[in-house]
Protein backbone atom coordinates (compact mmCIF):
# COMPACT_ATOMS: atom_id res chain seq x y z
CA UNK A 1 0.00 0.00 0.00
CA UNK A 2 1.50 3.34 -0.98
CA UNK A 3 1.34 6.75 0.62
CA UNK A 4 -0.91 8.10 -2.10
CA UNK A 5 -3.51 5.45 -1.45
CA UNK A 6 -3.28 6.09 2.25
CA UNK A 7 -3.65 9.81 2.02
CA UNK A 8 -5.87 11.49 -0.51
CA UNK A 9 -6.11 14.87 1.10
CA UNK A 10 -7.62 15.94 4.36
CA UNK A 11 -10.92 14.23 3.87
CA UNK A 12 -9.40 10.86 3.37
CA UNK A 13 -7.20 11.30 6.39
CA UNK A 14 -9.97 9.87 8.52
CA UNK A 15 -9.38 6.47 6.99
CA UNK A 16 -5.71 6.52 7.86
CA UNK A 17 -4.61 3.68 10.03
CA UNK A 18 -4.68 4.85 13.59
CA UNK A 19 -2.59 3.49 16.37
CA UNK A 20 -3.83 -0.08 16.46
CA UNK A 21 -3.17 -1.27 19.96
CA UNK A 22 -3.44 -4.96 19.16
CA UNK A 23 -0.24 -6.62 17.94
CA UNK A 24 0.14 -7.03 14.24
CA UNK A 25 2.71 -8.69 12.09
CA UNK A 26 5.55 -6.29 11.46
CA UNK A 27 7.40 -5.90 8.20
CA UNK A 28 10.94 -7.29 8.35
CA UNK A 29 13.92 -5.17 9.30
CA UNK A 30 17.28 -5.60 7.67
CA UNK A 31 20.72 -4.63 8.95
CA UNK A 32 23.63 -4.14 6.57
CA UNK A 33 27.25 -3.41 7.30
CA UNK A 34 28.80 -0.32 5.71
CA UNK A 35 32.10 0.62 7.25
CA UNK A 36 32.26 4.10 5.78
CA UNK A 37 30.61 6.49 3.35
CA UNK A 38 33.21 5.40 0.80
CA UNK A 39 31.56 2.00 0.60
CA UNK A 40 29.40 1.24 -2.41
CA UNK A 41 26.20 2.76 -1.04
CA UNK A 42 24.58 2.62 -4.50
CA UNK A 43 24.81 -1.17 -4.50
CA UNK A 44 23.64 -1.24 -0.91
CA UNK A 45 20.50 0.80 -1.62
CA UNK A 46 19.77 -1.39 -4.66
CA UNK A 47 20.04 -4.40 -2.38
CA UNK A 48 17.70 -2.85 0.17
CA UNK A 49 15.10 -2.17 -2.51
CA UNK A 50 15.41 -5.75 -3.78
CA UNK A 51 15.48 -7.36 -0.34
CA UNK A 52 12.33 -5.55 0.73
CA UNK A 53 10.66 -6.13 -2.63
CA UNK A 54 9.84 -2.45 -3.02
CA UNK A 55 7.95 -1.99 -6.26
CA UNK A 56 8.30 1.70 -7.06
CA UNK A 57 7.87 1.42 -10.80
CA UNK A 58 5.98 4.49 -12.00
CA UNK A 59 5.68 5.78 -8.44
CA UNK A 60 6.51 9.17 -6.97
CA UNK A 61 9.05 8.77 -4.19
CA UNK A 62 10.03 11.41 -1.65
CA UNK A 63 13.27 11.00 0.30
CA UNK A 64 13.20 12.73 3.66
CA UNK A 65 16.70 13.17 5.11
CA UNK A 66 17.47 14.56 8.54
CA UNK A 67 18.92 17.99 7.82
CA UNK A 68 18.95 20.02 10.99
CA UNK A 69 21.94 22.30 11.36
CA UNK A 70 25.48 22.34 10.09
CA UNK A 71 28.56 22.08 12.25
CA UNK A 72 31.72 20.91 10.56
CA UNK A 73 32.80 19.23 13.78
CA UNK A 74 29.59 17.25 14.32
CA UNK A 75 27.67 14.51 12.50
CA UNK A 76 24.22 16.05 12.76
CA UNK A 77 22.75 15.36 9.33
CA UNK A 78 22.08 12.31 7.20
CA UNK A 79 25.19 11.92 5.09
CA UNK A 80 24.54 13.32 1.59
CA UNK A 81 26.28 10.35 -0.06
CA UNK A 82 23.58 8.07 1.29
CA UNK A 83 20.89 10.46 0.06
CA UNK A 84 22.38 10.47 -3.42
CA UNK A 85 22.65 6.69 -3.38
CA UNK A 86 18.96 6.50 -2.44
CA UNK A 87 18.04 8.98 -5.17
CA UNK A 88 19.85 6.92 -7.79
CA UNK A 89 18.62 3.64 -6.33
CA UNK A 90 14.94 4.53 -6.49
CA UNK A 91 15.38 6.01 -9.95
CA UNK A 92 17.03 2.81 -11.13
CA UNK A 93 14.17 0.82 -9.60
CA UNK A 94 11.79 2.57 -11.94
CA UNK A 95 10.30 5.39 -9.86
CA UNK A 96 8.74 8.01 -12.11
CA UNK A 97 9.93 10.81 -9.88
CA UNK A 98 12.26 10.95 -6.89
CA UNK A 99 12.40 14.11 -4.82
CA UNK A 100 14.41 15.05 -1.76
CA UNK A 101 12.38 17.07 0.71
CA UNK A 102 13.09 18.51 4.14
CA UNK A 103 11.96 21.31 6.42
CA UNK A 104 14.65 22.06 9.00
CA UNK A 105 13.34 23.00 12.41
CA UNK A 106 15.72 25.72 13.53
CA UNK A 107 16.93 27.61 10.50
CA UNK A 108 14.99 29.16 7.65
CA UNK A 109 17.86 29.15 5.17
CA UNK A 110 17.28 25.55 4.10
CA UNK A 111 19.19 25.60 0.82
CA UNK A 112 22.19 27.28 2.40
CA UNK A 113 22.10 24.69 5.14
CA UNK A 114 21.96 21.92 2.53
CA UNK A 115 24.85 23.52 0.70
CA UNK A 116 26.97 23.70 3.84
CA UNK A 117 26.10 20.10 4.70
CA UNK A 118 27.45 18.92 1.34
CA UNK A 119 24.17 18.13 -0.41
CA UNK A 120 24.89 20.36 -3.39
CA UNK A 121 28.24 18.74 -4.06
CA UNK A 122 27.01 15.18 -3.47
CA UNK A 123 23.75 15.43 -5.43
CA UNK A 124 24.05 16.80 -8.98
CA UNK A 125 21.48 19.55 -9.72
CA UNK A 126 20.35 19.35 -6.13
CA UNK A 127 17.99 22.31 -6.34
CA UNK A 128 16.04 20.68 -9.17
CA UNK A 129 15.17 17.65 -7.02
CA UNK A 130 14.73 19.39 -3.68
CA UNK A 131 11.61 20.80 -2.03
CA UNK A 132 11.80 22.98 1.07
CA UNK A 133 8.92 21.53 3.08
CA UNK A 134 8.88 24.61 5.29
CA UNK A 135 7.65 26.65 2.34
CA UNK A 136 5.53 24.10 0.49
CA UNK A 137 1.81 24.25 -0.22
CA UNK A 138 -0.14 22.72 2.67
CA UNK A 139 -3.29 20.74 3.41
CA UNK A 140 -4.92 20.22 6.78
CA UNK A 141 -4.82 16.62 7.94
CA UNK A 142 -6.88 15.46 10.91
CA UNK A 143 -5.66 12.76 13.27
CA UNK A 144 -8.06 9.91 13.66
CA UNK A 145 -6.53 8.88 16.97
CA UNK A 146 -4.58 11.63 18.64
CA UNK A 147 -1.98 10.89 21.28
CA UNK A 148 -1.12 14.55 21.67
CA UNK A 149 -3.08 17.72 22.38
CA UNK A 150 -3.41 18.32 18.64
CA UNK A 151 -6.28 17.04 16.53
CA UNK A 152 -4.78 18.02 13.19
CA UNK A 153 -1.76 19.50 11.44
CA UNK A 154 -1.14 21.29 8.20
CA UNK A 155 1.25 19.19 6.17
CA UNK A 156 3.09 19.75 2.89
CA UNK A 157 1.42 18.58 -0.30
CA UNK A 158 4.73 17.19 -1.56
CA UNK A 159 4.54 14.63 1.23
CA UNK A 160 0.79 14.04 1.03
CA UNK A 161 0.84 13.50 -2.73
CA UNK A 162 3.74 11.08 -2.98
CA UNK A 163 3.33 7.35 -3.42
CA UNK A 164 6.16 6.35 -1.11
CA UNK A 165 7.74 8.38 1.67
CA UNK A 166 11.24 7.25 2.59
CA UNK A 167 12.53 8.43 5.94
CA UNK A 168 16.33 8.64 5.97
CA UNK A 169 17.35 9.67 9.46
CA UNK A 170 20.70 9.70 11.21
CA UNK A 171 21.06 7.26 14.08
CA UNK A 172 21.26 9.63 17.05
CA UNK A 173 20.44 9.98 20.68
CA UNK A 174 17.96 12.71 21.56
CA UNK A 175 18.16 14.70 24.76
CA UNK A 176 14.39 14.73 25.27
CA UNK A 177 13.01 11.48 23.89
CA UNK A 178 16.03 9.17 24.01
CA UNK A 179 16.59 8.43 20.34
CA UNK A 180 15.81 10.20 17.09
CA UNK A 181 15.34 7.78 14.22
CA UNK A 182 12.86 7.28 11.36
CA UNK A 183 9.75 8.32 13.32
CA UNK A 184 11.14 11.46 14.95
CA UNK A 185 12.56 12.40 11.54
CA UNK A 186 8.99 13.19 10.45
CA UNK A 187 9.02 16.36 12.56
CA UNK A 188 10.80 17.79 9.54
CA UNK A 189 7.71 17.51 7.37
CA UNK A 190 5.77 19.98 9.55
CA UNK A 191 5.86 23.32 7.72
CA UNK A 192 7.71 26.23 9.30
CA UNK A 193 5.75 28.75 7.23
CA UNK A 194 2.70 27.78 9.30
CA UNK A 195 4.21 26.82 12.65
CA UNK A 196 7.54 28.67 12.74
CA UNK A 197 11.18 27.83 13.37
CA UNK A 198 11.17 25.75 15.56
CA UNK A 199 7.84 23.98 15.12
CA UNK A 200 7.16 24.62 18.76
CA UNK A 201 3.51 23.51 18.66
CA UNK A 202 4.83 19.96 18.54
CA UNK A 203 6.83 20.44 21.73
CA UNK A 204 3.94 21.94 23.69
CA UNK A 205 1.57 19.24 22.45
CA UNK A 206 4.02 16.58 23.64
CA UNK A 207 7.09 15.46 21.72
CA UNK A 208 6.59 11.73 22.19
CA UNK A 209 2.88 12.09 21.51
CA UNK A 210 3.28 14.08 18.31
CA UNK A 211 5.93 11.66 17.05
CA UNK A 212 3.32 8.93 17.51
CA UNK A 213 0.64 11.06 15.82
CA UNK A 214 2.81 11.70 12.79
CA UNK A 215 3.67 8.03 12.63
CA UNK A 216 -0.02 7.18 12.56
CA UNK A 217 -0.35 9.28 9.42
CA UNK A 218 2.56 7.53 7.72
CA UNK A 219 2.64 4.01 9.15
CA UNK A 220 4.08 2.56 5.96
CA UNK A 221 6.86 5.05 5.40
CA UNK A 222 9.94 3.12 4.36
CA UNK A 223 12.99 3.74 6.52
CA UNK A 224 16.69 3.71 5.72
CA UNK A 225 18.67 4.71 8.81
CA UNK A 226 22.16 6.14 8.44
CA UNK A 227 24.01 4.33 11.17
CA UNK A 228 27.39 4.38 9.48
CA UNK A 229 28.38 7.14 11.87
CA UNK A 230 25.79 8.05 14.47
CA UNK A 231 25.65 10.56 17.30
CA UNK A 232 25.73 9.76 21.02
CA UNK A 233 25.41 11.82 24.18
CA UNK A 234 23.69 15.17 23.88
CA UNK A 235 22.04 14.51 20.52
CA UNK A 236 20.52 15.45 18.19
CA UNK A 237 22.88 18.40 17.63
CA UNK A 238 25.58 18.66 20.25
CA UNK A 239 26.52 15.03 20.72
CA UNK A 240 29.67 13.16 19.76
CA UNK A 241 30.10 11.01 16.68
CA UNK A 242 29.68 7.27 17.22
CA UNK A 243 30.73 4.98 14.38
CA UNK A 244 28.52 1.91 14.10
CA UNK A 245 29.03 0.94 10.47
CA UNK A 246 25.46 -0.07 9.68
CA UNK A 247 22.44 0.82 7.59
CA UNK A 248 19.09 -0.32 8.99
CA UNK A 249 16.05 -0.56 6.72
CA UNK A 250 12.44 -1.65 6.71
CA UNK A 251 8.84 -0.85 5.87
CA UNK A 252 7.67 -0.62 9.48
CA UNK A 253 9.05 2.52 11.17
CA UNK A 254 8.28 1.19 14.66
CA UNK A 255 10.14 -2.04 14.02
CA UNK A 256 13.06 -0.21 12.42
CA UNK A 257 13.34 2.26 15.28
CA UNK A 258 13.05 -0.45 17.91
CA UNK A 259 15.84 -2.38 16.17
CA UNK A 260 18.02 0.75 16.00
CA UNK A 261 17.42 1.32 19.71
CA UNK A 262 18.68 -2.17 20.48
CA UNK A 263 21.75 -1.57 18.34
CA UNK A 264 22.35 1.63 20.35
CA UNK A 265 21.76 -0.34 23.58
CA UNK A 266 18.62 1.63 24.32
CA UNK A 267 15.57 -0.24 25.55
CA UNK A 268 12.78 0.41 23.03
CA UNK A 269 10.19 -0.50 25.65
CA UNK A 270 11.28 2.55 27.61
CA UNK A 271 11.05 4.93 24.66
CA UNK A 272 7.68 6.54 25.12
CA UNK A 273 6.85 7.26 21.49
CA UNK A 274 7.44 3.61 20.62
CA UNK A 275 5.17 2.54 23.47
CA UNK A 276 2.51 4.91 22.18
CA UNK A 277 2.81 3.48 18.69
CA UNK A 278 2.70 -0.24 19.32
CA UNK A 279 1.71 -2.69 22.03
CA UNK A 280 4.50 -4.04 24.20
CA UNK A 281 4.59 -7.48 22.65
CA UNK A 282 5.04 -5.97 19.20
CA UNK A 283 8.15 -4.16 20.39
CA UNK A 284 9.73 -7.37 21.60
CA UNK A 285 12.83 -8.36 19.66
CA UNK A 286 11.41 -11.73 18.72
CA UNK A 287 8.33 -10.11 17.18
CA UNK A 288 10.34 -8.56 14.38
CA UNK A 289 11.44 -10.66 11.45
CA UNK A 290 14.98 -9.55 10.87
CA UNK A 291 17.62 -10.42 8.30
CA UNK A 292 21.12 -9.39 7.38
CA UNK A 293 23.45 -8.81 10.29
CA UNK A 294 22.25 -9.71 13.75
CA UNK A 295 21.64 -6.99 16.31
CA UNK A 296 24.17 -8.56 18.64
CA UNK A 297 26.89 -8.50 16.02
CA UNK A 298 26.61 -4.77 15.39
CA UNK A 299 25.42 -3.51 18.78
CA UNK A 300 27.31 -0.39 19.82
CA UNK A 301 26.55 1.26 23.11
CA UNK A 302 25.63 4.93 22.63
CA UNK A 303 26.44 7.19 25.56
CA UNK A 304 23.31 8.63 27.16
CA UNK A 305 22.87 11.80 29.14
CA UNK A 306 22.56 10.99 32.86
CA UNK A 307 18.91 12.01 32.84
CA UNK A 308 18.25 9.31 30.23
CA UNK A 309 20.22 6.53 31.89
CA UNK A 310 16.98 4.69 32.66
CA UNK A 311 16.66 3.98 28.93
CA UNK A 312 19.73 1.75 28.89
CA UNK A 313 19.06 -1.76 27.65
CA UNK A 314 19.97 -4.34 30.27
CA UNK A 315 22.98 -6.53 29.70
CA UNK A 316 22.19 -9.49 27.51
CA UNK A 317 19.96 -7.36 25.37
CA UNK A 318 16.80 -8.16 27.23
CA UNK A 319 14.46 -5.54 28.53
CA UNK A 320 15.11 -4.94 32.18
Amino acid sequence: MTRRRWVAGAGAAAVLGGCERKPRKTAPVSIYRAASYSDDLYALVARIIADHKLDVRGKRVVLKPNLVEFDEHAVINTNPKLIHAALEGFRAAGASDVQIAEGPGHRRVTLDLADAAGYFSAVPRFESVFTDLNLDEVTKVRFRHSNSKLDSLFLPNTILNCDLLVSLPKMKTHHWVGATLSMKNLFGIVPGAVYGWPKNVLHWAGIDETIADLHNLFPRAFSIVDGIVGMEGNGPIQGRSRPVGVIVAGADPVAVDATCCRIMRIDPLRVQYLRLSAPEEQLAEESTAQFGESIASVATEFALLPRLSHLRLAKGGKTS
Binding site: D71, H106, R107, R108, V109, L111, D112, D115, A116, E127, D132, L135, D136, E137, V138, T139, K140, F154, H175, A193, V194, Y195, G196, W197, P198, N200, V201, H203, W204, N234, I237, Q238, L305, R307
Partner: protein, 295 residues
Protein backbone atom coordinates in the same frame (compact mmCIF):
# COMPACT_ATOMS: atom_id res chain seq x y z
CA UNK B 1 20.65 52.13 -11.77
CA UNK B 2 17.30 52.81 -10.17
CA UNK B 3 16.26 50.16 -7.68
CA UNK B 4 13.23 49.16 -9.74
CA UNK B 5 15.34 48.64 -12.87
CA UNK B 6 17.37 45.82 -11.32
CA UNK B 7 16.76 42.29 -12.68
CA UNK B 8 15.90 41.05 -9.18
CA UNK B 9 13.13 43.63 -8.95
CA UNK B 10 11.76 42.54 -12.32
CA UNK B 11 11.96 38.90 -11.23
CA UNK B 12 10.01 39.79 -8.13
CA UNK B 13 7.29 41.55 -10.10
CA UNK B 14 7.03 38.75 -12.63
CA UNK B 15 6.37 36.20 -9.91
CA UNK B 16 3.36 38.03 -8.49
CA UNK B 17 0.26 35.84 -8.53
CA UNK B 18 -2.86 37.01 -10.38
CA UNK B 19 -4.62 37.57 -7.05
CA UNK B 20 -1.98 40.14 -6.06
CA UNK B 21 -0.03 38.05 -3.58
CA UNK B 22 3.20 36.09 -3.76
CA UNK B 23 4.15 32.50 -3.00
CA UNK B 24 7.44 31.53 -1.39
CA UNK B 25 8.59 29.70 -4.49
CA UNK B 26 5.56 28.61 -6.53
CA UNK B 27 1.86 28.11 -5.93
CA UNK B 28 -0.68 30.12 -4.00
CA UNK B 29 -0.19 33.42 -2.20
CA UNK B 30 1.10 33.55 1.37
CA UNK B 31 1.06 36.52 3.71
CA UNK B 32 4.77 36.56 4.55
CA UNK B 33 6.30 36.69 1.05
CA UNK B 34 3.60 39.15 -0.01
CA UNK B 35 4.55 41.49 2.84
CA UNK B 36 8.24 41.29 1.98
CA UNK B 37 7.52 41.86 -1.70
CA UNK B 38 5.47 44.93 -0.88
CA UNK B 39 8.24 46.18 1.41
CA UNK B 40 10.64 45.78 -1.52
CA UNK B 41 8.29 47.76 -3.73
CA UNK B 42 8.09 50.42 -1.04
CA UNK B 43 11.88 50.49 -0.73
CA UNK B 44 12.06 51.13 -4.46
CA UNK B 45 9.40 53.85 -4.28
CA UNK B 46 6.96 51.62 -6.15
CA UNK B 47 4.33 50.85 -3.53
CA UNK B 48 1.77 52.93 -5.44
CA UNK B 49 2.37 50.95 -8.63
CA UNK B 50 -0.33 48.66 -9.98
CA UNK B 51 1.54 45.68 -8.53
CA UNK B 52 1.84 47.39 -5.17
CA UNK B 53 -1.84 48.29 -5.05
CA UNK B 54 -2.88 44.73 -5.92
CA UNK B 55 -0.64 43.39 -3.18
CA UNK B 56 -2.02 45.92 -0.71
CA UNK B 57 -5.60 44.96 -1.53
CA UNK B 58 -4.78 41.26 -1.15
CA UNK B 59 -3.27 41.85 2.28
CA UNK B 60 -5.81 44.35 3.59
CA UNK B 61 -8.67 41.99 2.78
CA UNK B 62 -7.24 39.21 4.93
CA UNK B 63 -7.34 40.57 8.44
CA UNK B 64 -9.04 38.05 10.68
CA UNK B 65 -11.77 38.80 13.20
CA UNK B 66 -9.25 38.67 16.06
CA UNK B 67 -7.17 41.43 14.46
CA UNK B 68 -4.34 39.23 13.24
CA UNK B 69 -3.36 37.69 9.93
CA UNK B 70 -2.97 34.02 9.06
CA UNK B 71 0.08 32.83 7.12
CA UNK B 72 -2.13 31.35 4.41
CA UNK B 73 -5.86 31.48 3.67
CA UNK B 74 -6.39 27.84 4.60
CA UNK B 75 -4.84 28.29 8.06
CA UNK B 76 -7.52 29.44 10.53
CA UNK B 77 -5.10 31.00 13.01
CA UNK B 78 -3.42 34.39 13.31
CA UNK B 79 0.35 34.10 13.67
CA UNK B 80 3.60 36.08 13.78
CA UNK B 81 3.03 37.32 10.22
CA UNK B 82 0.72 39.93 11.74
CA UNK B 83 3.76 41.97 12.77
CA UNK B 84 4.81 42.26 9.13
CA UNK B 85 1.60 44.11 8.29
CA UNK B 86 2.62 46.93 10.64
CA UNK B 87 5.90 47.34 8.77
CA UNK B 88 4.17 48.10 5.48
CA UNK B 89 3.84 51.60 4.00
CA UNK B 90 1.22 53.90 5.43
CA UNK B 91 -2.19 53.29 3.94
CA UNK B 92 -1.82 49.62 3.02
CA UNK B 93 -4.00 48.82 6.00
CA UNK B 94 -6.30 51.37 7.60
CA UNK B 95 -5.59 52.98 10.96
CA UNK B 96 -8.43 50.97 12.46
CA UNK B 97 -6.93 47.78 11.05
CA UNK B 98 -3.54 48.74 12.47
CA UNK B 99 -5.05 49.32 15.92
CA UNK B 100 -6.64 45.88 15.90
CA UNK B 101 -3.37 44.35 14.71
CA UNK B 102 -1.49 46.04 17.55
CA UNK B 103 -4.03 44.74 20.03
CA UNK B 104 -3.54 41.22 18.69
CA UNK B 105 0.26 41.49 18.88
CA UNK B 106 0.07 42.78 22.44
CA UNK B 107 -2.15 39.85 23.35
CA UNK B 108 0.60 37.41 22.34
CA UNK B 109 3.58 36.44 24.42
CA UNK B 110 5.82 33.45 24.94
CA UNK B 111 4.03 30.83 26.99
CA UNK B 112 7.15 30.13 29.03
CA UNK B 113 7.09 33.65 30.48
CA UNK B 114 3.49 33.46 31.68
CA UNK B 115 2.76 33.60 35.40
CA UNK B 116 0.94 30.27 35.31
CA UNK B 117 3.74 28.44 33.55
CA UNK B 118 6.41 29.84 35.85
CA UNK B 119 4.27 29.00 38.87
CA UNK B 120 3.86 25.45 37.62
CA UNK B 121 7.62 25.10 37.20
CA UNK B 122 8.13 26.27 40.78
CA UNK B 123 5.44 23.93 42.10
CA UNK B 124 7.29 21.07 40.42
CA UNK B 125 10.33 22.00 42.45
CA UNK B 126 12.38 23.71 39.77
CA UNK B 127 13.50 27.28 39.29
CA UNK B 128 12.47 28.86 36.00
CA UNK B 129 15.55 29.82 33.98
CA UNK B 130 16.24 33.56 34.18
CA UNK B 131 15.99 33.96 30.41
CA UNK B 132 12.34 32.92 30.64
CA UNK B 133 11.48 35.95 32.73
CA UNK B 134 10.97 38.29 29.81
CA UNK B 135 8.08 38.32 27.39
CA UNK B 136 9.05 37.56 23.82
CA UNK B 137 6.72 36.67 20.99
CA UNK B 138 5.86 33.22 19.62
CA UNK B 139 5.68 32.10 16.01
CA UNK B 140 2.36 30.44 16.68
CA UNK B 141 -0.11 31.28 19.46
CA UNK B 142 0.18 29.55 22.80
CA UNK B 143 3.78 28.45 22.31
CA UNK B 144 7.12 29.81 23.54
CA UNK B 145 8.76 33.05 22.50
CA UNK B 146 11.53 32.92 19.88
CA UNK B 147 14.09 35.32 18.48
CA UNK B 148 12.59 35.71 14.99
CA UNK B 149 9.04 36.77 15.90
CA UNK B 150 10.29 38.78 18.88
CA UNK B 151 12.62 40.78 16.64
CA UNK B 152 9.90 41.39 14.05
CA UNK B 153 7.36 42.42 16.69
CA UNK B 154 9.79 44.91 18.21
CA UNK B 155 10.45 46.40 14.78
CA UNK B 156 6.72 46.55 14.02
CA UNK B 157 5.74 48.20 17.29
CA UNK B 158 8.57 50.71 17.09
CA UNK B 159 7.60 51.73 13.56
CA UNK B 160 4.06 52.61 14.62
CA UNK B 161 2.63 56.07 14.34
CA UNK B 162 2.29 57.09 18.00
CA UNK B 163 -0.99 56.07 19.54
CA UNK B 164 -3.37 58.63 20.97
CA UNK B 165 -4.48 56.08 23.54
CA UNK B 166 -2.09 56.53 26.44
CA UNK B 167 -2.72 53.09 27.89
CA UNK B 168 -1.98 51.30 24.64
CA UNK B 169 1.08 53.45 24.06
CA UNK B 170 2.37 52.54 27.50
CA UNK B 171 1.77 48.86 26.87
CA UNK B 172 3.56 49.10 23.54
CA UNK B 173 6.56 50.66 25.28
CA UNK B 174 6.50 48.02 28.00
CA UNK B 175 6.35 45.11 25.57
CA UNK B 176 9.11 46.57 23.39
CA UNK B 177 11.31 46.86 26.46
CA UNK B 178 10.40 43.32 27.51
CA UNK B 179 11.21 42.11 24.01
CA UNK B 180 14.60 43.78 24.06
CA UNK B 181 15.37 42.20 27.43
CA UNK B 182 14.24 38.88 26.04
CA UNK B 183 16.75 39.24 23.22
CA UNK B 184 19.57 40.23 25.54
CA UNK B 185 18.85 37.21 27.72
CA UNK B 186 18.85 34.82 24.77
CA UNK B 187 22.25 35.61 23.33
CA UNK B 188 24.48 32.68 22.45
CA UNK B 189 27.96 32.12 23.81
CA UNK B 190 29.50 33.87 20.79
CA UNK B 191 27.43 36.99 21.39
CA UNK B 192 24.95 36.51 18.56
CA UNK B 193 21.55 34.86 18.37
CA UNK B 194 20.24 31.54 17.15
CA UNK B 195 16.55 30.65 16.94
CA UNK B 196 16.20 31.35 20.65
CA UNK B 197 17.53 28.35 22.49
CA UNK B 198 21.00 29.46 23.49
CA UNK B 199 21.34 26.79 26.15
CA UNK B 200 20.01 23.26 25.94
CA UNK B 201 20.41 21.23 29.08
CA UNK B 202 23.35 23.35 30.07
CA UNK B 203 25.14 23.09 26.74
CA UNK B 204 25.87 26.39 25.02
CA UNK B 205 24.85 26.89 21.42
CA UNK B 206 26.30 29.03 18.66
CA UNK B 207 24.46 31.74 16.81
CA UNK B 208 23.13 31.84 13.25
CA UNK B 209 23.85 34.79 10.97
CA UNK B 210 20.21 35.37 9.97
CA UNK B 211 18.89 35.55 13.52
CA UNK B 212 21.87 37.60 14.65
CA UNK B 213 21.02 40.09 11.92
CA UNK B 214 17.32 40.19 12.80
CA UNK B 215 17.89 40.66 16.51
CA UNK B 216 20.62 43.24 15.98
CA UNK B 217 18.30 45.19 13.70
CA UNK B 218 15.63 45.12 16.40
CA UNK B 219 18.26 46.46 18.83
CA UNK B 220 19.75 48.86 16.30
CA UNK B 221 19.78 51.90 18.57
CA UNK B 222 21.05 50.13 21.66
CA UNK B 223 24.54 50.86 22.93
CA UNK B 224 24.41 48.11 25.54
CA UNK B 225 27.80 46.35 25.71
CA UNK B 226 26.15 43.06 24.73
CA UNK B 227 24.81 44.63 21.55
CA UNK B 228 28.20 46.08 20.66
CA UNK B 229 29.63 42.55 20.94
CA UNK B 230 26.86 41.28 18.64
CA UNK B 231 27.69 44.03 16.19
CA UNK B 232 31.33 42.90 16.08
CA UNK B 233 30.15 39.34 15.47
CA UNK B 234 27.80 40.50 12.71
CA UNK B 235 30.71 42.14 10.92
CA UNK B 236 32.55 38.82 10.98
CA UNK B 237 29.52 36.76 9.96
CA UNK B 238 28.70 38.88 6.92
CA UNK B 239 32.14 38.24 5.45
CA UNK B 240 31.60 34.49 5.31
CA UNK B 241 27.82 34.30 4.99
CA UNK B 242 26.63 32.33 1.96
CA UNK B 243 22.93 33.02 2.33
CA UNK B 244 21.19 35.98 0.73
CA UNK B 245 18.57 36.09 3.47
CA UNK B 246 21.12 35.95 6.27
CA UNK B 247 23.47 38.44 4.62
CA UNK B 248 20.54 40.80 4.08
CA UNK B 249 19.56 40.80 7.75
CA UNK B 250 23.16 41.32 8.82
CA UNK B 251 23.65 44.16 6.40
CA UNK B 252 20.38 45.84 7.33
CA UNK B 253 21.37 45.71 10.99
CA UNK B 254 24.87 47.04 10.42
CA UNK B 255 23.57 49.84 8.20
CA UNK B 256 21.03 50.77 10.85
CA UNK B 257 23.88 51.01 13.34
CA UNK B 258 25.82 53.30 11.04
CA UNK B 259 28.23 50.86 9.46
CA UNK B 260 28.64 50.27 5.74
CA UNK B 261 29.60 46.60 5.42
CA UNK B 262 32.48 45.99 3.05
CA UNK B 263 30.70 43.00 1.55
CA UNK B 264 28.55 44.76 -1.01
CA UNK B 265 27.42 41.89 -3.21
CA UNK B 266 24.83 39.62 -1.64
CA UNK B 267 24.62 35.94 -2.57
CA UNK B 268 22.07 35.13 -5.27
CA UNK B 269 18.45 35.12 -4.04
CA UNK B 270 16.76 31.71 -4.08
CA UNK B 271 13.10 32.52 -3.44
CA UNK B 272 10.61 35.39 -3.22
CA UNK B 273 11.65 36.33 0.28
CA UNK B 274 15.30 36.56 -0.69
CA UNK B 275 14.54 38.50 -3.87
CA UNK B 276 12.64 41.02 -1.75
CA UNK B 277 15.25 41.13 1.00
CA UNK B 278 18.01 41.77 -1.52
CA UNK B 279 16.14 44.82 -2.86
CA UNK B 280 15.20 46.03 0.63
CA UNK B 281 18.84 45.80 1.67
CA UNK B 282 20.04 47.61 -1.43
CA UNK B 283 17.62 50.44 -0.65
CA UNK B 284 18.86 50.56 2.94
CA UNK B 285 22.36 51.01 1.61
CA UNK B 286 21.04 54.10 -0.17
CA UNK B 287 19.53 55.42 3.04
CA UNK B 288 16.00 53.99 2.97
CA UNK B 289 15.58 51.25 5.58
CA UNK B 290 11.93 50.23 5.44
CA UNK B 291 12.15 48.26 8.68
CA UNK B 292 12.87 51.43 10.60
CA UNK B 293 11.76 54.44 8.59
CA UNK B 294 8.13 55.18 7.90
CA UNK B 295 7.28 55.21 4.20
Amino acid sequence: MELYEHPNFRSLLSSQNPDGGWSYTRGGSWTEPTCYALLALSAAGQSASEEGQRAARWLAARQRADGGWAPRDVVPESTWVTSLLLLLPDGVISREQAHRAVAWILSQSGRESSFLFRLRVRLLGATPPPEQEFEGWPWYPNTAGWVGPTSLSILALRKLVPFGDVQIAAEVDRRVEQGRRYLLARRCRDGGWNHGSSKALGYDSDSYPETTGMALLAMHDSQAPEVVVAQTLAKQQIETCRSCEAASWLRLALLARGFQPTSLVLPDPRNTLELAMERITEAAGRGRNVFIQRT
